[in-house]
């Protein structure tokens, strides 16, 4: 606009062309000076912030946890805000992950060596297999053992003396029962079925009174995976019986398949006797769980968090919690079913590993752990968490189950692709009327397919299984 005006003035002046020219030149110089000053003023703060940005440590955190602990994402967001206030030089971007993206998204990121600086995966093999492929940096390299020794269930992510990931919470899987419905069926409402015989007897009594004994959902395969985690474990004397079977070592696969046959036969028996809700195959896990608080099923396998939530729905006096009844005769049958479930780790390509580790370790400070428990009800995976914060008697019992003895969640010890392609579909076969033989045949076929389709991963698994046995 100004250029046009100047040009017009210059061309229309009838007095002196040279004067007009000088005037234009003066104006141009003046404008240039003003523009330069303005530009300098405008650029100065940008340049300042650019240098500050250059100094700022940016951390991208792909986080998952909501599926286990509703409300944990909000807790994490609040922690990040606090951490950034305490550490103005650090900027953390939280990217929540869903159940279906957690594994494939990280697999893609690991291939490209870009994406998150900190990532969440489910514990054990979903962490350790990428670690064996060079995608994970051991957290024990950056966090002192005096700190990591306070974290619970760390053995789930250890390999050759290194700790690869950090736990945030511990989640247990108890059996819950509805005391009112037990009473209605003539059962002792205060007695948990502890042996398999007692469990079957309770189921029979409940069914005879028109009550669905066990309410679950398996459309997504989760219930089948839980049956594997809880009951296949009870058939084993050690985890290596599973891992060496998966690694196809000697005759171990045949032994593993034989023990799976027994477990699936037991599972099929529960189905054929009508001890599990008839629509289990078409309800997803969360829908199946709703049968319990709705009073439509007398028992359920669930999480600590659900047990506490349901106690509010049906009344704490009406809910009983116990360890899953013992079916198997293996040494591991005596262990409980708690896990850190998800684990936080530093990726090998992160440029700020020290800063990542500092933030992760900071999450374990007592005030953060107390807030985690207060805001979500989750039991923090830290021995420094003051138990005095757990005041509810039911929560105390559940925390006792989780921390009293050894816990193993067997699903963590199979490769994620076997979990998806064999474990879950095999359980679905059982809940949709299939036989134990068909479920085990599926396992066998998928183990062979994995061996031929993922030769590198198979060899890494074999190495890990050999070192871990």
């Amino acid at each position: 606009m100004n250029w046009k005006v100047l040009a017009t003035e210059a061309s229309t002046s009838t007095r002196s062309k040279s004067m007009a020219g000088r005037r234009v030149a003066h104006r141009l110089i003046a404008m240039f000076c003003v523009a330069s000053l303005g530009l300098a003023m405008a650029v100065a703060p940008v340049a300042g912030s650019a240098s500050a940005a250059a100094k700022k440590t940016n951390i991208t955190y792909w986080f998952w946890g909501e599926g286990d602990i509703p409300g944990i994402t909000k807790w994490m967001q609040q922690r990040i805000v606090t951490y950034q206030t305490l550490n103005p030089g650090v900027s953390i971007t939280l990217v929540p992950q869903s159940d279906s993206t957690i594994i494939p998204s990280f697999a893609l990121a690991a291939q490209n060596k870009s994406g998150p600086d900190i990532d969440t995966q489910w514990a054990t093999l979903p962490v350790l297999l990428p670690a064996l492929q060079g995608g994970v940096t051991p957290i024990s390299k950056y966090v002192k053992s005096s700190e990591t020794s306070k974290w619970l269930n760390t053995s789930e992510n250890e390999y050759k003396g290194a700790l690869y990931a950090m736990p945030l919470y511990v989640i247990g899987v108890p059996l819950v029962w509805n005391k009112k419905l037990f009473k209605q069926a003539g059962l002792d409402p205060n007695k948990a079925p502890t042996t398999w015989g007692e469990f079957l007897a309770d189921c029979a009594a409940l069914k005879a009174h028109g009550i669905t004994p066990l309410g679950m959902g398996n459309k997504d395969g989760d219930f089948g995976a839980w049956m594997f985690a809880i009951y296949e474990k009870q058939a084993l004397n050690s985890i290596s019986q599973l891992t060496e079977g998966v690694a196809n070592k000697g005759n171990d696969q045949a032994k593993l398949l034989a023990s799976l046959t027994k477990m699936y036969t037991m599972f099929q028996g529960l189905m054929s006797k009508g001890y599990i809700n008839s629509n289990v195959a078409s309800l997803d896990f969360a829908q199946g769980w709703q049968l319990f608080p709705q009073g439509k099923a007398a028992m359920s396998f669930t999480t600590d968090g659900n047990a506490l939530a349901w106690a509010k729905t049906i009344g704490q006096a009406n809910i009983g919690v116990g360890e899953p009844p013992i079916w198997g005769t293996g040494t591991l049958a005596k262990t409980y079913d708690a896990t850190q479930s998800s684990s936080e780790f530093i990726t090998s390509w992160s440029p700020n590993k020290k800063a990542d580790a500092k933030f992760l370790a900071w999450l374990h400070t007592p005030s953060n752990m107390v807030a985690l428990n207060k805001e979500t009800g989750a039991f923090p995976a830290d021995s420094r968490f003051p138990k005095s914060n757990i005041t509810n008697s039911l929560a105390k019992t559940l925390d006792g189950f989780d921390t009293a003895g050894t816990s193993i969640w067997l699903e963590n010890f199979i490769p994620p692709s076997i979990d998806t392609s064999a474990d879950r579909p095999a359980g679905q076969l059982i809940t949709s009327g299939g036989t134990a033989a068909s479920a085990v045949a599926l396992w066998k076929q998928q183990l062979q397919l994995w061996q031929s389709q993922q030769p590198t991963q198979f060899n890494q698994f074999k190495t890990w299984a050999g070192a871990s046995s």
């Binding site: 494939p104 291939q111 008839s278 629509n279 078409s282 998806t420 076929q445 031929s452 590198t456």
Partner: protein
Amino acid sequence: MGPALVALGVVFVYSFVEVAHYSLYAGSIGQLTYVGFSNYRELFIDPQFVHAMFNNFRLLFTVPIVTILSLALALVINTTFRGVRAYRAIVFVPYILPATAMGLSFSYILQGNGILDGLLKNLHLSFLIHDWLGSPSWVMFSIGSVIVWQQFGFGVVVFSAALLAVPGETIEAARIDGANWWVVQRKILIPQIHRIIEFFVILQAIIVLSSVFTYIYVLTGGGPGYSSGVMEFFIYQNGFENGSIGIASAAAVVLLALASVLIAIYLWVRTRAAKEVN
């Protein structure tokens, strides 16, 4: 022309060459092992893939059902009556519904002891009660029914548009000659739109062969077990969930080959139609 060819080359040819290339490897990207054509051999002895392919072929049965139902309704609403436009819009609604909303709704309707079972019970038809999505024997029938329900509206719109293009004089002449409603439909209208019917049938066949992933994903996730798996879902599970890019790519090549046969038939039909017009 040049840029268009380059774009076509990048989008289609490069992608296809990459997929075909990966089909010769085992493992995940970054740790691939050359295995030649063994992925193709493995595919055809893999019960899950064979079953998935069989399921795709089973879904072809939905094609005549959708075609007949939508053609019949299009013929009925072809005559002008009050509210015909609203009616056409209503039958089209299922086609534009988001897949997730549809999946959620039908999950509740078709699950064991769900809305459909409740309705059957109230109608004293308990012998018809099933776990429609949870039973391997019924799950493909249920998915097929949902496909028919959603594609039906599209068929009605396609056929209605074709019927509106039929010259009114032809119908008028037939009526003057004493043709009744049924004769007009059978002898005049249907023959006049047979090219559109052929197009629709081939299009539907391509859809059920290579574009039913959404239905499977939202309704059953391929389950129970692998009973409702289709080829696309096999590709997704192996490629994305299991990271087995090789076998997933081999399955994609097979699926593309099968879809190409249908596309070739479609092109042949079009060429024949163009020749007839000329």
